[in-house]
């Protein structure tokens, strides 16, 4: 009827050109291939290099051949106190910073969701910190923490509290780094949580309200389970980034005072470039990579993130 004039209603079972057919057949491979090839290229080569380097003693002198030391570099990890310190600091930083960011981000999202859902502008304002170059963040906070001229000590002074050295104080240095990191990355968690909350279904809440569940129970029984996948991915991304913290420490404290803020990336950087010992640096890196992958595999399987 309608299409009688078009001439396309007649048999058209020509299977298309050979190329089109081939492309369609192999689309699942073709679409995945660029990514897989790029990532293979960019990870396989470094990985092989790393494994190879980790079992050698590499002199900074390019004319000295690499000296095979077997597991020597890994054995060194056991007795290297600086490595232990860095491992401990990284762990402390990751656990504390991510926990605080998560609690703050989730809390703010729960409290404010209803009130700023439509205030996109305000939301974006609150997102700004995570968009800034960490290097600029580090420098800003360095100025704020500055013991003599910094804003923070001025506030302490006005409030009649004892002045602190912040990033320069043994006990407060890690805390200062964490505060700067929390300032920058809580918005990220906040954003993800808002996104999660925005997609919550309404009905279960109405049902729960009718059943007389308190807000607390609703949060515990509904919101949290619904948000679980978002929370999981947020935590995973944050932990992965926290483990590789570099810029903040590099600028704010340089690892001091008294080694209290020396984190693994900084230590690897020092070993590889300052001490020009890439073999040992590769061994540390492998260790870090290994731990990260084990942890995240466990986490992703538990949270069923790869499905």
């Amino acid at each position: 009827m309608v299409g009688s004039a078009s001439g396309m209603s007649t048999a058209q079972l020509r299977p298309g050109g050979g190329l089109e057919r081939w492309a369609e057949r192999h689309l699942r491979v073709l679409m995945l291939a660029p990514t897989v090839i790029i990532l293979l290229g960019l990870t396989i080569f470094p990985s092989i290099y790393m494994f190879y380097a980790a079992v050698h003693k590499i002199s900074p002198n390019p004319d000295v051949p690499w000296d095979f030391v077997g597991p020597g570099n890994f054995v060194r990890l056991l007795s290297d106190q600086q490595f232990h310190v860095a491992l401990l600091n990284t762990t402390v930083f990751t656990v504390l910073a991510v926990t605080v960011e998560f609690l703050l981000g989730l809390g703010l999202a729960l409290l404010l969701d209803k009130y700023i859902r439509r205030l996109t502008f305000l939301k974006t304002m609150l997102m700004i910190p995570m968009m800034l170059p960490p290097i600029a963040v580090a420098i800003t906070w360095k100025l704020i923490y500055e013991p003599q001229f910094g804003v923070l000590n001025e506030i302490m002074y006005r409030l009649g509290l004892p002045l602190q050295a912040w990033a320069g104080d043994v006990d407060l240095a890690m805390f200062s780094i964490i505060v700067a990191d929390v300032w920058q990355w809580t918005p990220f968690i906040f954003l993800l949580m808002l996104a999660g909350l925005a997609s919550l279904p309404v009905e279960p809440y109405e049902a729960a309200a009718l059943d007389g569940a308190s807000s607390w129970r609703q949060f515990w029984d509904l919101t949290l389970p619904f948000l679980k996948p978002v929370i999981a991915i947020a935590l995973l991304l944050r932990v992965m980034d926290a483990l590789r913290l570099f810029d903040l420490v590099f600028i704010l404290t340089g690892g001091g005072p008294a080694d209290r803020t020396k984190v693994l990336s900084l230590y690897i950087y020092q070993v590889a470039y300052r001490f020009a010992d890439p073999g040992y640096a590769a061994a540390i890196s492998l260790f870090v990579l290994f731990v990260t992958i084990i942890l995240s595999t466990w986490f992703m399987n538990r949270m069923r993130l790869a499905d």
Binding site: M1, M8, P15
Partner: protein
């Protein structure tokens, strides 16, 4: 226009066999309904025609052309999805015109045909709206319009009415039937709703577990259900299926006795009888098949559905709307013996005499 033929088609998803050795010929201009419960393979069968799934083995033809492995775009079929699958980012006009645009139909011609189709489905005033601004029934019409804007060789409809409310569904059902009649396009229609199947189809293929249980006109299916599954699936309220035993040609189940099965002996038998073929009778009649207490009485308007307790289960009969029996009252039952079906409980097949 076109016939669709399945020859020994199988579809496996991993270990799971969705469609098993499926053979069927759908005639030109026929309205064929694939009916079955969810997971019976009816949608998979249809999607194989569309080219959205590939058959694991066997052949599918449209007319004389084998279409296995042919890209969907070259099959010249149109499909209406259960969720309508309207493109949310396109207006009604662009949604309807999409198949034409893909086929590079001239804009002027495209416009003309969109307008024509839109008028036909009464959407001509809504062309510039987005799908989210339409009601459910209107969306359904857009989906329909998109399918008919080009005249495909085959229409495929995947439960197109299931998202509508009851009243709209009845109305759209009629429109669909009329439309198909007018367009004269071979149509495959998938549904789990036996009323839709009965009302729309030229022929119904009842599917279960990947195979066709019975193929026939709605009347054949209703009057002559060949398997236990078909018997139970078709009809509302469903056919009474009473398990029991046949001894010496007499079916017996908890005091319910029906004779006339020659001299057969079946230890696990199921007797089927439709509620309208069961009649209430005074208790004292000699030839009642059963005397039992009334479990419930439901007036539907044109008649009364009466349920009786029979052993551990219920038996339903359709009585006159003026039926006056009370719950727990004893009542006699007569079945129309020429309208009962006996099934072998083991093979699930009908036992004929």
């Amino acid at each position: 226009m076109a016939s669709v033929t399945f020859k020994k088609v199988c579809k496996k998803f991993g270990e799971f066999v969705a469609v098993n050795n499926f053979t069927l010929e759908i005639r030109d201009k026929e309205f064929l309904v694939l009916l079955g419960p969810s997971g019976c393979g009816k949608t998979t069968t249809m999607r194989m025609v569309a080219g959205l799934e590939e058959a694991t083995s066997g052949d599918i033809y449209i007319d004389a052309d084998r279409i296995n492995g042919v890209l969907p775009k070259y099959r010249d079929v149109a499909m209406v999805f259960q969720s309508y699958a309207l493109y949310p980012h396109l207006t009604v006009e662009d949604n309807i015109g999409y198949p034409l645009k893909i086929r590079k139909v001239e804009p002027a011609e495209r416009k003309r045909r969109i307008a024509e189709v839109a008028r036909r489905v009464e959407l001509d005033t809504m062309l510039s709206r987005l799908p989210k601004e339409l009601s459910g029934g209107q969306r359904q019409r857009v989906a329909l319009a998109r399918a008919i804007v080009r005249t495909p060789r085959v229409f495929l409809m995947d439960e197109p009415l299931s998202n509508l409310d009851a009243k709209l569904r009845t109305q759209m059902r009629a429109e669909l039937k009329h439309l198909q009649h007018e367009l004269q396009v071979t149509t495959i229609y998938v549904t789990h709703d036996q009323i839709e199947a009965m009302t729309l189809a030229h022929r119904v293929a009842v599917m279960n577990k990947g195979v066709i249980e019975q193929l026939g006109t709605p009347r054949e299916i209703y009057n002559d259900p060949r398997t236990l599954f078909v018997a139970g699936f078709i009809g509302s309220p469903p056919m009474n299926l009473i398990p029991g035993e046949v001894k010496e040609g007499i079916f017996n189940s908890a005091g319910f006795r029906v004779g006339g099965f020659a001299r057969a002996n079946i230890s696990r038998a199921v007797l089927g009888v439709r509620p309208e073929d069961v009649h209430a009778a005074p208790v004292e009649d000699d030839d009642v098949n059963l005397v039992a207490p009334i479990y419930s009485v439901e007036l539907t308007g044109e008649n009364t559905l009466v349920s009786l307790r029979l052993g551990g289960q219920l038996m339903t009969l359709r009585a006159d709307k003026n039926f006056t029996g009370q719950i727990d009252e004893q009542i006699g039952v007569k079945v129309a013996t020429d309208r009962v079906f006996l099934y072998n409980g083991e093979t699930q097949d009908r036992v004929d005499f």
